[in-house]
């Protein structure tokens, strides 16, 4: 049986439409990541699932049971807030035990569970600390422990790493994934950072302007973005307009590119995505490998990134494309004309 189902959720604040007919399902034990730019409605979606907002239309079902009339405090979900929302008048133990007291655990049980949670998040001995004395990373751990303590059936994470600095984020992301996998927690994770989404989730739902535009595994999503918007949001920004020539090529301002255009009529307007990785600088007369296209352009900028060079290439038609090229070929000189061999990308129908 489907564990959690969102059916046609819609929500407006005044005249502003925040969610429009959002549906998805989630299996027990899976981690779903809702990825979207700010203002895409992802936090509202999470708050509706938690019961903190009421949808204008649609419903949330837990194991087939409609939660419409279940207030947040009876849903038995755990939630971690963006700013952690730790209770400043209670110490660390008090925060973690709060949900246990609310759910009428005995004192002894609550103390045992609190100690368990402290060791789960690696904060043994922190029980008596005041919240004000904790660092950002410690607060994040307390917030996680607090939301997990009362044995929630579903964990909701609202940008759980959003308010931390970059270095800390990567370490805590790793820990978070480790903890969630270990206890097999069903989780919905909201973020605007695709790296976080790729690192943690089994499934990613990309949201844009109040709707889910694509939902798939991280690998499939990266390989086959469903639209130029999704591609752009995943950091794939080399998008070129063109017309279909044949089932395997598209005419663009850069010349004819090899691209999978099966099923599209010749002459149709499309957008081609060229992947920034898998590009290689080739010599004047060198022939590209089979199935690769050639792009010519002038190097505008070149950054050494350790594993590769990040180059900005100005191509015919005036567009600037970005590529990551291997370092073996040596540093591309700024201002020099180069030839690149690129792999066929995706083709999007540009009917809209």
């Amino acid at each position: 049986m489907v564990f959690l189902e969102a059916r046609n959720l819609s929500k407006s604040f005044g005249s502003q439409r925040v969610l429009h007919r959002v549906s998805f399902t989630l299996e027990q034990g899976n981690i779903l990541c809702i990825l979207g730019p700010s203002g895409s409605g992802k936090t509202t979606l999470l708050r509706i699932i938690a019961g903190l907002e009421t949808p204008d239309d649609g419903s949330v079902l837990l194991r087939g049971r409609d939660l419409r009339h279940t207030p947040p405090h009876l849903r038995r979900f755990g939630m971690m807030f963006q700013e952690f929302a730790l209770f400043p008048h209670l110490d660390v133990s008090g925060n973690i035990a709060f949900g246990l007291h609310m759910r009428k655990f005995s004192r002894a049980e609550a103390a045992k569970r609190t100690a368990e949670m402290l060791s789960l998040v690696g904060l043994e001995g922190f029980g008596a600390r005041r919240i004000g004395e904790l660092s950002g990373g410690e607060r994040q751990r307390v917030a996680l422990a607090r939301s997990l303590a009362p044995y929630p059936v579903l964990l909701l994470l609202d940008e759980p790493l959003g308010s931390l600095d970059r270095a800390l984020r990567e370490k805590l992301l790793f820990d978070l994934r480790e903890i969630l996998r270990r206890i097999g927690m069903t989780t919905i994770f909201v973020t605007h950072d695709q790296a976080e989404a790729f690192a943690v989730s089994d499934t990613i739902a990309v949201m844009d302007r109040g709707g889910i535009v694509q939902m798939d595994t991280p690998e499939n999503l990266y390989r086959n973005p469903a639209s130029p918007e999704v591609a752009r949001f995943l950091g794939l920004s080399n998008l070129i307009d063109g017309r279909v020539e044949s089932a395997s090529s598209v005419a663009t301002a850069l010349g004819s590119l090899i691209a999978p255009a099966q099923g599209l009529a010749a002459g149709e307007r499309v957008t081609v995505l060229i992947r920034p990785d898998s590009a290689r600088i080739i010599g004047e007369d060198e022939k590209p490998a089979l199935g690769m296209s050639i792009i010519e352009g002038t190097v505008q900028d070149c950054l050494f990134r350790g594993k590769n060079y990040h180059i900005e290439l100005k191509v015919q038609g005036g567009q600037t494309l970005v590529f990551e090229v291997p370092i073996e070929a040596g540093s591309p000189e700024i201002g020099r004309a180069v030839r690149l061999a690129v792999a066929p990308g995706s083709v999007f129908h540009s009917s809209r």
Binding site: G14, G51, L52, H73, F81, F87, R103
Partner: protein, 557 residues
């Protein structure tokens, strides 16, 4: 930055210190000696009598529990409004907030007159009920009742809770309550287990402040309570003026001084913990716009009820001042300016307006003369002297004006300082009440001027006096004006000290209103209403101007 020499600094505070010594500590000392040694001999009989006679124990008890009850009522009634102001953005919010503060700055006499105009025996509500339902006598009998006093106290102090608790609340992340709910707390539990405890320092600070104001309430109780109700303040007045029992009045004053100092001490301690909530949030994350219909009902319903409660007494005051037996007219206003034969002052009441303005202007000048040097001194020296002198100069704030007035009549009535008949005695007392506000409005501005500003002026060739006139003075002009307006309005409405000090033929406006209210007849009542309306308009206008200056460019407080 220290001033060039210590001598300059000492000169700066010499005059204010002398003023404080003669016009504050000397009267205080006289109160001590009169209560503890009435005949020049040590005799604590009056003090022990305070705690052994039934009547004074009753006064003490009533003072305490009416203040406690007023405080609880104010907090309970203002909490919903504090929530709305803390959690929502809505059009007109800052204006509405400014308006809710008007009752707080009104003279107590005006507040008493306004409640009398709304709900008194001769008030609007009764008048309308008698006309519409044909009652033969006023159906609402609130005059000289506890309910009347409580209502006036809530009206007065509503904004204290609204501002302090609302400000505190607006800095607390709404996620706290949501987090509690997701963890299994019902909305009710979430409030009591999380929101309330987090809010507690703010509520405590606001409550204590309201309690202090109600504990030392004088005008409201004297006018609305009638002879049945007496707080310590009212008892001091009655013992001194009606019964001429000066030692008893002194003993009561001593008691009041001790209470007030104790309360103020607790308050300053509390305030430190209440001024900044844990990890304050920006208003962007804690406040939201009105979106749903539920929001609309909550916000506008609360604002409507609040404004209804706060505005209706003041509107009733204006209506009463204009409605005469023969319809709407300016009869009462004209009467103020006539020297009628039956006038109770033997002079045109309008002269009271003149005296008030005159006293207020003198107070303004004196307050600036005292307040400005104190502020400059406190802003420059950060050593031990400042940390001792700052609270010392604020002491008059913790002293009720009734004890001050009483102290003046027992201390300043004999040579070399016989000011009993001097015109100056009223503005001197007012200055003591007003100058702390001047200090408090200028000091932050002075302290916010970076030292580098003055130093670079010096390096550019400015002499110390030029630095003052070209750099410092222009930067504190606005706070100076704010302090001046404060001093002026405080003086205009001052009642507790003035009632002891003003000569019968030189009444101020609050005194004239008080006397009019105590007389029978529609004309006297109407003139009380008219004069209260004038005083209300002047005070409210002064306050709104002050708010504009404070929030406008260059001003901060």
């Amino acid at each position: 930055m220290r001033p060039p020499g210590n001598r300059a600094a000492i000169l700066l505070v010499a005059l204010p210190l002398a003023f404080l010594g003669v016009f504050y500590f000397y009267p205080l000392f006289e109160i001590f000696s009169l209560s503890l040694a009435p005949g020049g001999q040590w005799d604590p009989g009056n003090i022990t009598a305070l705690f052994s006679t039934g009547s004074s124990l009753r006064i003490l008890w009533f003072t305490t529990w009416q203040a406690a009850l007023s405080t609880v009522l104010t907090v309970v009634l203002a909490l919903p409004a504090a929530y709305v102001f803390a959690r929502y953005r809505f059009p007109g919010k800052s204006l509405i907030q400014s308006c809710t503060t008007i009752p707080f700055v009104l003279p107590s006499v005006v507040v008493a007159a306004a409640f009398s105009a709304l709900l008194g025996d001769r008030g609007l509500a009764n008048e309308w009920l008698m006309v519409i339902w044909g009652f033969s006598s006023p159906p609402i009998r609130l005059e000289q009742s506890l309910a009347f006093i409580l209502m006036a106290h809530v009206f007065y102090n509503f904004t204290v809770v609204l501002r302090i608790v609302g400000g505190f609340w607006s800095r607390i992340h709404p996620g706290l309550s949501h987090a509690a709910q997701v963890l299994g707390a019902s909305p009710w539990q979430a409030f009591w287990k999380v929101t309330f405890p987090v809010l507690r320092p703010g509520i405590m600070a606001a409550s204590l402040l309201v309690f202090i104001f109600c504990f030392s309430s004088f005008g409201v109780i004297l006018i609305l309570g009638g002879p049945r109700y007496s707080t310590i303040e009212v008892a001091i007045y009655r013992q001194a003026v009606h019964l001429f029992n000066l030692p008893m009045a002194a003993a009561l004053s001593l008691l009041q001084i001790c209470f007030m100092f104790a309360f103020m001490w607790v308050y300053t301690r509390l305030q430190r913990s209440a001024s900044v909530p844990f990890a304050p949030e920006s208003l962007k994350t804690t406040q939201r716009d009105i979106v749903t219909n539920r929001d609309r009902v909550v916000v506008w319903g609360t604002v409507f009820l609040m404004l209804l409660f706060l505005a209706s007494p003041l509107l009733a005051l204006v209506v009463c001042s204009l409605s005469t037996g023969s319809g709407v007219s300016l009869l009462y206003y004209r009467a103020i300016f006539q020297n009628a034969g039956q006038s109770i002052f033997y002079i045109p009441p309008a002269l009271a307006i003149g005296y008030s303005v005159w006293f207020a202007l003198v107070t303004l000048v004196l307050s600036l003369c005292i307040g400005l040097p104190v502020a400059i001194f406190l802003s420059r020296d950060r050593g031990l002297a400042t940390s001792l002198l700052d609270p010392l100069f604020m002491l008059p704030l913790a002293t009720s004006s009734v004890t001050l007035g009483f102290g003046y009549i027992i201390a300043l009535d004999e040579p070399p300082l016989n000011l009993r008949t001097s015109l100056l005695i009223v503005p001197l007392a007012h200055t003591l009440v007003a100058y702390p506000f001047v200090v408090r409005s200028i000091l932050p501005a002075l302290r916010s001027i970076p030292a580098g500003l003055r130093e670079s002026a010096v390096l550019l060739g400015a002499a110390p006096s030029q630095v003052w006139w070209k750099v410092t003075a222009p930067l504190i002009r606005m706070p100076l004006v704010v302090g001046a307006i404060f001093a002026f309005t405080v003086s205009l409405g001052e009642f507790g000290a003035t009632i002891f000090l003003a000569r019968p033929e030189l009444p101020t406006m609050p005194l004239a209103i008080y006397r009019f209210l105590g007389r029978p007849g529609a004309l006297n009542y109407g003139q009380a209403m008219a004069m209260s309306t004038i005083l209300m308009i002047v005070t409210a206008a002064g306050f709104l101007l002050l708010e504009r200056l404070r929030t406008g460019p260059g001003g901060e407080l």
